[in-house]
Structure formats: structure tokens, C-alpha cells
Symmetry: C2
Subunit: 434 residues, 2 copies
């Protein structure tokens, strides 16, 4: 039986998960592929011994030794971050090794270097686990939807942010309280910046856009806002408007330009994305032939991520055995067909908006605000002004018809400059019904 | 540029859809694969001329001529039904041609013959379009979830039945009325038996179970009930119990045996499957590593089906170019590892139940019925008995705790034999919260 040997860099949560998946599924993978695919070596600077079930697996403290071990067919990078991950990946590619990684930050930022090196050395780079955890989203996009022009990508791609928003929605608790609790329970990182500020979601959107549209893009090109300013009352008002607040990645293909943005979004309750709760992810594609497709599952976690990494390993193992390396281009399009596309500036965006304005409870305030909006050609669909406060500012909440982002910015600058307005207006974009 | 030539048998709705997909996506497919994949010939007994955009495409009236045309690399069968589809597919395989089909009835019933012939002749058989229309469900199961033991499959796999149930739910209209309207609008076939009686869903479940568990199964092994007995009041009572009625395919893997059933099911509103409306399909897998994954999209239609068939064509085209035919086994497991498994008899099923009993409005009826249920160890969770009728029977509606199917059958036989019971009791299984 053909043997494929896997070398793993990084034996943390995800790395040990992959090791467990390969061990638990060894017989099944043999029955499905006729190959023996097994973990042969691990490199990790933090451990001196592997758990006892991994008998016979070599352990290195130096990743370079593993990379240059001639036994190894496929190198799996699961340490995360940019460095030293990039060095290891580039060294593996230069050594003619196939690579599998779950590292969305690395791919989103350094993807061009990595994929062009891989093309030069004729090796595969698998990255199913970088977006949507265990959900087969990369394969579906590259192969299942190959005969489609992708018209839009929308998704909930960060389980931590969605978990926090779901608990805020269900329990009416403040962001900080839920975040702290999530950290204590291990659902959020000690430094949650990437998750809650939308950066991780932008990494993933950049990867999907590259493949969907055949374009060069990094997460730096994506307008990104996080969820840390969302308050329970915004969630409550959203409910009154028939919406849920979700941190969405949104990209629409307008041919001459493509939208690329990550921000909290009010999603109509009738939309499936409004119904994705807790740590789950869902990615929604619209293809010109297939119509709407949604893929749902756990976007993170030891075993789901291990499942996706193992799927990549099997794909490469099949290509090694069949002599079909390069059978499917890594980024869906052939490298020479990946081009630059104009990214829609946020100022050119049009959508309905939600505003929460904190104003002193004085006569004429609403009329002043309405006047400013009207002057900026922003048309109000509905207003909620809750009963008088005994003291302090009141919240004036509005839902607009479709308006231009630049007009909204101008109007809010003027509104926030009013003497009666107590703090910066909260602005949340609303997903238009389609 | 490598050229791959496709021959299409059947230029009906789906066939002409595929032709349009290949034409519309030709450049995109070239940019993604570096190959020119094009429709070279069509066989259809009903047409004498192809639409003008298909210039240069040969037209045969005899499918055998197309099959034996030495120009053709891949034969696509899109006529549906068992015969002559099987003859054409077997003839193509015997002639060493790769085959793509969307024919779930054929695969579910004659799959063994077809896949063993394909193995013998070293050709591929693609069938992504046979389940879930444009949703990449077959590829996800075979490749994306390769490193998982599949613990369960649940799904809404028939768009017509789901469309009818959705309209009954939204509008409170009777089954017959919606069906007639759906037929007039072209959403349901003139003979809707396969769709509404669950047979089409059973075909699809058989295909998924074969691949998920590596087992031999045909739709004849699957206990199948349709939706034609569902009344608007059942939908209304379901709502009172916090449920939606859906026609579900359900399979659970109990190792020594596997469940395989298709029937109307009350799905708790909190479950994503309860939220799949209209002509959409959704397939929910639970894997031991990946957890829950759901794939959603249009389960039928000209262009979505064309998208899936085109994806299969591209897969095979890549294998032809790379010399990697047989890279992924057609049924996910190698043929020698596909075995017989015991299918759980329905009598061994345990789940909560909904009963709607039509009884004369007389004193003591409820107590008699409750006594019969109790004697059969069926425990009632809640009862709804609507206010007295001026005449005719009343509906007594119950939701049970988990009960055994055989006990339920015995109890309902006794209840339906009571002189006060006016018509056979409606029984709907409830999906237990997980």
C-alpha cells in the first residue's frame, strides 16, 4: 500500500487535533483511498515528548530538521502568525515539499510570495482550514462552483464574534461582560483584537475573493469595522426593525469594481445568515449559474480544523499517487489569469443605514437632525424615539432608505457637531433584502 | 490548449441548461483550468435542430451514434428515468467513455451495475447533480469530509415537496390546492408522485448513504412516506408545538445498523432545517470530527443542475489531462470496501410523535385514548383539544415523549378501531432536539 508521510510543525491545540484525526481515521482513509497516510514527524519547540498514542512519530525541536527530512512528503504548518510560519512554509516549498496550512493571516498577507514559490517549485499548497474551519468552503468554491461567475460572497466567518453577538442578543448583556466571560471559558483569546475588530474575518474574505474573482487582494484592501461599539440597545432596536446584528464579510462583484468590506450588519430575520448562531460560521455565495449556496458549520476548533487539514492532506496524497500535482490551481484561476481589480471605495457604497443618535431631550432636536439628513438626500424610513428621560441624553434611532456612504458621513459629521448631540452617532449598515 | 469534448444525451430542460452553462462559462473554465472544454455533440430524438448559438455542435437522433463517436471524451446522460438511460450509460462505459449523469433514480436502483462496469472499464462516473442540484454535496461528502465517520445525514432533498409545504405553512392552504397551483406554474410535474410521496428523496438518500457509510443500499431499502396526507391544521398544530413540518430524509449510523427513512417530520423551529423554505434544499451531515455541517442551495432547476454537471465534467477533464482517472473512488470508498449493513427496521425506531385523532365529541373519549397509550407505554407530553364542535368529529392532538414505533403502531391500531374514532389517526414523527 502506498504510504504518504506527513510532517507537522506546531503541536498546539490545532496541531494535536490533526494528529488525533489522522490516528482516529487511519483505517477509514485507507478504505477510502487505498493509501496509508500517517503522521511521521512533529516539530515543536515547546514539547519534549509526544503523547503515548503517537508511538513511532519522530519529534524535532527544530522545524528545519523536519522540513529537510527526506522521509516527509507533506509539511503541515499549524503554528499561526506571520513569522516564523512564513519562513518555514517558504523553506518547505523550496525543498520541494507540499504544504498544508490553516494560517489565514499568513495567506492573506503573504499569499503572493507563497503561491508563486509553490508554482515555481511545482508543489501544492492546501488551505481548506483557513476559512470556515471544517466546512469544505475552499473546495466548493474552487471545484464545486467552478462553472460560475461568483456574483457575491457574504458570510459569518468568525465564531468568536458571532458567539459574542449571539449571547448579547439572547441575554441582553453588554459586549464587555460577554467578552470577559467568553475569555474565561476559552471561547475568546486573551487578545481578542483580530476576532472582535473584524481583522480575522477580513483575512478570510481576502482569501475567498482571490479565488472567487481571480484577483490580487490582501486584507489591507478591505474596509474593516469590528463589533466592540455595539450595545445591547442596538440589538434591541435591530429586533424592532426585524433584523439581527451580525459581523458580516460582504463582497459584491460589479465587474469593473468589487466591494470588499467587513462590518457589523443588520441582517433581516428572514435571511438565513440571521439564523446562524453561536460559534457557527456560514458562507453564502451567489453564482450566476447556481444561484444562492450557503455552507454552514463550525468555523474553528481542534477537531473541525483537523478535519479540514486532513482533507487537504488526502487531496495532495491522491495527487502524489496519481502523478497529478497541479491538477487544480491553488487559487482556482491559473496564476497568469489572476489580475488586479478595482476595489469599490467605501464612499461609493449605497445601502440602508441604522443610526443611533444620543441627543439632549430638547424641543426641535429631531427636526434639526431630520433637516440635516434631508439636505444630504438621506431619506428616513422610520424613527424610534423612546419616551422622555428624567435626565441625560435620549436615543433617537432611525432606519434610512438606501443612502450613499459619503452622504451619510457628511450628515453624521454635521449631526455629531451639534451642541445637543452628546456622543458620536452609532451607524450600522443594513443588508438590503434581495 | 488541451481540448475536452462533451457529448450530451437529452436536450430537454436540464440538457439545454448544461449546454448554456458550458457556453456561458467557456472562457472562465479556460482561465481556471487551461483547457477548452466544449459541447461537441448532442443526441435527442425529439429535436431536428439546435438553437443557433450552438453552431458547430453535431446533432444525432441516435444516442448510440454519439456514444461511439470517437471524438467524444465524456458522455453526459440527462434524459432521466431507468430506460433507455441505463442502456446508454452502460454502452458508454463499455465504449470506454467517462459518464456524467444527474439521474438519481438510475443510480439509486442500478448503481451497482453501473459502478462495477465503470471500475472494470477504468472510467469515471460523475453524479454531483443527482443530489441537491447545484449544491456541491457529493464532492463535499467524498472529499471535504473524507476524514470523518459520518454519524448522521438529514436533509430536505426535494424542492417540490418543500415548496408545497412552505406554501401550506405560509398561506394555510390545502395540499391539493397548492399542488394544483404548483403544477400550473411549472414548479411540480404533471405526475408528482415521486416528489410528493418521498420516492425522489429516498433515491437521493440511498446515494448519500452509499458514500457516507460505504454500504450497498437502494431506495427500496428505505422506509418512505410522503406529504399528501398533511393538512393545514397539522401545520397549525406543529406551530403550536414550536415546530415546522418538513419532508426529511433521515439516516443515523448506529454502527451495527443504520437508520434509513423518509417521512414528514416536525422539526423544532430552532433547527436550521426548519428554516429552509420554498424550492431550496439543505443537507445536514454530522461527522465525528467536523461536527455539524449544512449545505444549502437550489436542489433543482435548469442552471443549478447545469452548474453541478459542469463541475463533474471539469473534474473528469482534469483527470483526463493529468492521467489521474480513478483518483477519487466514485462512491468514496474503494469498491472492495463497500459492504452490506443492517438497516434498522422502522419497528425499532424511537422518537417523539405527533398524533391527530379524529373522534366523536363524547365524554370519556380522551380518557379511553389516554388509557390505550398508557397501556402501550407511550407517555403524553401535551394535548390540545380544540373547543366543542356543533357537529362532526373533533381533533384531539397529542405530542408524546420518545416512544417506540412498534408500540405506537399497536396503540394507533387499537385507537383507530374504537367506535368513536372517525378516521385513521395522522401520525407525524418529531425530530428530537439534539
Amino acid at each position: 500500500m502506498k504510504e504518504i508521510k506527513v510532517g507537522l510543525i506546531g503541536f498546539g491545540t490545532v496541531g494535536s487535533g490533526l494528529a488525533e484525526v489522522l490516528l482516529a481515521q487511519q483505517q477509514r482513509l485507507e478504505k477510502r483511498s487505498g493509501m496509508s497516510v500517517r503522521l511521521a514527524a512533529v516539530a515543536d519547540i515547546n514539547i519534549t515528548e509526544l503523547p503515548s498514542q503517537f508511538v513511532g512519530v519522530k519529534l524535532f525541536s527544530d522545524a528545519a530538521e523536519l522540513i529537510h527530512d527526506s522521509d516527509i512528503d507533506i509539511i503541515v504548518e499549524l503554528i499561526g502568525g506571520i513569522q516564523p510560519a512564513k519562513t518555514f512554509v517558504m523553506e518547505a516549498i523550496a525543498a520541494g515539499k507540499h504544504v498544508v496550512t490553516a494560517n489565514k493571516a499568513l495567506l492573506s498577507q503573504e499569499g503572493r510570495d507563497i503561491f508563486s514559490a509553490a508554482a515555481k517549485h511545482g508543489v501544492e499548497v492546501g488551505f481548506e482550514a483557513s476559512v470556515g474551519g471544517g466546512i469544505p468552503v475552499i473546495k466548493s468554491l474552487k471545484e464545486g462552483l467552478v462553472a460560475n461567475k461568483i456574483l457575491s460572497i457574504m458570510g459569518i466567518m468568525n465564531g468568536t464574534a458571532n458567539y459574542i453577538l449571539t449571547r448579547m442578543t439572547d441575554e441582553g448583556v453588554a459586549f464587555d461582560v460577554v467578552l470577559k466571560d467568553a475569555q474565561e471559558q476559552g471561547f475568546a483569546e486573551a487578545d481578542p483584537t483580530y476576532d472582535i475588530e473584524g481583522i480575522d474575518t477580513a483575512h478570510k474574505l481576502a482569501i475567498l475573493m482571490t479565488m472567487a474573482y481571480g484577483m490580487n487582494i490582501t486584507h489591507n484592501d478591505i474596509a474593516t469595522e469590528g463589533i466592540s461599539r455595539i450595545e445591547p440597545m442596538d440589538i434591541e432596536f435591530a429586533r424592532e426593525f426585524g433584523c439581527r446584528i451580525k459581523l458580516l464579510a460582504i463582497s459584491r462583484n460589479h465587474n469593473e469594481h468589487v466591494e470588499a468590506r467587513v462590518h457589523p450588519t443588520m441582517v433581516p430575520e428572514t435571511h438565513l445568515l440571521a439564523k446562524i448562531d453561536g460559534a457557527f460560521n456560514a458562507i453564502h455565495f451567489t453564482g450566476d449559474m447556481v444561484g444562492n449556496v450557503l455552507l454552514y458549520g463550525l468555523g474553528a476548533g481542534k477537531m473541525p480544523t483537523g478535519s479540514a487539514v486532513a482533507a487537504d492532506i488526502m487531496d495532495i496524497a491522491r495527487d502524489i499517487r496519481s502523478g497529478s500535482i497541479g491538477r487544480v490551481p491553488s487559487l482556482s484561476y491559473l496564476p497568469e489569469n489572476i489580475c488586479d481589480r478595482r476595489i469599490t471605495p467605501m464612499e461609493e457604497l449605497f445601502c440602508p443605514y441604522y443610526f443611533r443618535i444620543s441627543a439632549k431631550d430638547e424641543p426641535g432636536v429631531l427636526s434639526t437632525i431630520a433637516g440635516i439628513l434631508s439636505k444630504n438626500t438621506i431619506s428616513i424610513e422610520s424613527v424610534i424615539q423612546k419616551g422622555r428621560q428624567t435626565s441625560g441624553p435620549v436615543s433617537i434611532v432611525m432606519r434610512t432608505h438606501t443612502a450613499g456612504e459619503s452622504a451619510v458621513r457628511a450628515a453624521l459629521q454635521e449631526i455629531d457637531g451639534l451642541e445637543v448631540v452628546a456622543e458620536p452617532t452609532v451607524k450600522i449598515r443594513i443588508l438590503a433584502d434581495e
